[in-house]
């Protein structure tokens, strides 16, 4: 019988949607599923976790030094809880990718990163080479399964649950060597590229930083995040943090617009899990059309204004 512990991601007020996605991965593995909510003043977040469908129990660890998700502190507390569980799973967000390997090492295990499919209670499929290959990995008997669930591969579970909430005391004080300084939330009102449901991206064809403004404008009109190709970033048309692709961000929005993007492998590997890919390019031979769900051969400088006027 599998006993699964999920590490909740939250900002102190709200449970991050990645937690419910991780829960659906755990549901596929099967067994009893508990959620650990660590933090300070987490009653509200714990209630949200308890309401998710399929949760047996919510375990809270509430202490002042756990208010921010510093891996050194959270890993220590997770390890203290882990004894009762066969599986410990977090989301493959920056939160989970920071924390879970620290937990894995303390438990003497290698982590299974980015579970995209479950083949058995200890056997999983995960992407490698930026999703250009999928490999099956089995965790040996006698070892805990420590893993992250690839958020782009799992739908959030629904509500309607009413799990019991238990609290546990923290087992350790703060790690003296690490101090949280602050968080600067980027992009203003624009949705975060990594989690946005819609993304508008531009490539080399934008030809200048000034003309890249066309991409921002269209993105803002449809409430989308903004991305760029490596070529656009290297040419200075848009900043580094917008790079989508193998060495940038790998994203899976419901709707992706590729304007003036040729479709280099490097870039395509970053968008393969998008729901619908729309490509607009002057070159009918551009490889982006091979992966596009809807393609339009045309000049982005006329197509974008036309789309905007059609939006009304």
């Amino acid at each position: 019988m599998n006993t699964i512990l999920i590490i909740a991601e939250h900002d102190g007020r709200e449970l991050n949607a990645a937690t419910a996605k991780t829960l659906s991965c755990a549901g596929e593995i099967g067994g009893t599923i508990d959620i650990a909510v660590m933090g300070h003043g987490v009653a509200e977040v714990a209630a949200q976790a308890a309401a998710l469908d399929g949760v047996s129990r919510v375990v809270t660890v509430d202490a002042e030094h756990l208010a921010k998700p510093l891996a050194a502190n959270w890993a220590t507390e997770t390890v203290a809880l882990a004894g009762d569980y066969s599986h410990v799973i977090g989301p493959s967000t920056t939160f989970g990718r920071d924390l879970m390997p620290r937990i894995a090492a303390l438990l003497g295990a290698n982590q299974v990163s980015d579970i995209m499919a479950v083949s058995g209670p200890r056997t999983f499929k995960r992407p490698v080479y930026a999703g250009n290959a999928i490999v099956e990995v089995t965790v040996a008997e006698g070892s805990k399964v420590v893993a992250t669930a690839r958020t782009a591969s799992w739908k959030a579970t629904g509500g309607g649950g009413a799990a019991a909430i238990e609290s546990r005391p923290a087992v350790a004080g703060p790690a003296e060597h690490t101090r949280y300084v602050g968080l600067e939330i980027e992009g203003g009102e624009r949705p975060d590229l990594q989690s946005a449901a819609r993304v508008v991206a531009g490539g080399r064809a934008l030809a200048s930083e000034e003309q890249f403004a066309l991409i921002y404008d269209f993105a803002d009109k449809i409430g989308a995040g903004v991305g760029g190709t490596r070529a656009a970033v290297d040419a200075g048309y848009c900043p580094n943090d917008m790079q989508v692709g193998q060495t940038g961000k790998i994203i899976a929005p419901d709707l992706y617009f590729a304007f003036g993007i040729s479709g280099a492998i490097q870039h395509v590997t970053g968008i393969k899990d998008a729901g619908t890919i729309v490509a607009v390019n002057k070159d009918p031979e551009a490889p982006i059309f091979e992966v596009a769900d809807i393609g339009l051969v045309g000049d982005l400088f006329t197509v974008i204004p036309e789309l905007e006027s059609l939006l009304g």
Binding site: A71, A72, T94, F95, R97, D98, L99, M100, P101, R102, A104, A105, L106, G108, A109, Q111, V112, V128, Y129, A130, G131, N132, A133, I134, V135, E136, V137, V139, A140, S143, H177, T178, R179, Y180, V181, G182, L183, E184, I185, E186, D192, N240, D241, T247, D254, L255, I265, K272, T276, I277, V278, D293, I294, L296, V297, G298, E306, L307, L310, L311
Partner: protein, 248 residues
């Protein structure tokens, strides 16, 4: 202060990898191999810290067979002072790499470890965090800015919602993200000079690290191809299609 930079030999990021027909792995026969791009960024940062007078020595380390000496030489040509090959004929799982690198850290008295946030082959993103855990020292992952101040480092981290800053006491492990810097190009004279720099080989056994791991790697398969899409004639048709599908 000594800085240790991990370097992994990986399939070059421009190569389209193909899964072998028997599913035993991906085809790397005759394929261009390079330094993992994130590791180049880690090395560039280490060199800049040394050039600013905040470190005395930059050591590059890689685990693998003799082929990894190529990538270590690239690191030396970029400007590292010396290189260490942790020699092993077996593929290592991240926890073993972390254990081996930590042995090097202890032997050399390293105070700052800089690693790429992930390797672009296995995409595991584990080694840095594991080193920090086993060492019981701070970790600052996905760094986009590293500022050293005495025995401390202020690190800005790229997290999903923005930029988080943490302050860590040294020794510490930092894993680096793309935005941190633009790695320098290697010039020909540097390649010549690198040939004379020391490259030491130490076996995994000599470090007292076993080849073991709790993961069994099964078969590889290519990803599911996307379904064939449609072409539209103009913006109006495109918009109509998006509205029909309930996407806009």
């Amino acid at each position: 202060m000594k800085i240790l930079v991990g370097i992994k030999r990986v399939v070059d990021y421009n190569v389209r990898v193909r899964v072998l027909p028997d599913g035993s792995g991906v085809d790397i026969d005759g394929v261009k191999m390079s330094v993992n791009p994130f590791d180049e960024i880690a090395l560039e940062e280490a060199l800049r810290i040394r050039e600013a007078g905040n470190a005395d020595e930059v050591i590059v380390v890689s685990a693998g067979g003799d082929e990894v000496q190529q990538q270590l030489r690239t690191g030396l040509a970029m400007g590292a002072d010396r290189a260490i090959q942790v020699k092993t004929g077996e593929p290592l799982q991240p926890l073993s790499v972390a254990r081996a690198f930590l042995k090097v850290v202890e032997r050399e008295g390293v105070e700052l470890v800089l690693l790429g946030k992930q390797a672009i082959d296995d995409d595991n993103s584990q080694t840095a965090q594991m080193m920090a855990a086993l060492w019981d020292r701070p970790q600052a992952t996905f760094a986009s800015e590293v500022k050293l101040d005495g025995g401390k480092a202020s690190v800005t981290r790229e997290v999903d919602v923005g930029l988080e800053t943490v302050e860590v006491d040294l020794p510490a492990v930092v894993s680096v993200d793309l935005r941190l810097n633009e790695p320098r190009f290697v010039k020909l004279p540097d390649i010549m000079k690198a040939k004379r720099k020391p490259l030491e080989t130490v076996s995994l056994e000599d470090l007292g690290v076993a080849v073991e791991g709790n993961l069994e790697i099964g078969s590889y398969e290519p990803p599911q191809p996307r379904e064939k899409g449609i072409m539209v004639e103009d913006a109006a048709q495109l918009m109509g299609e998006l509205k029909n599908r309930g996407l806009l």
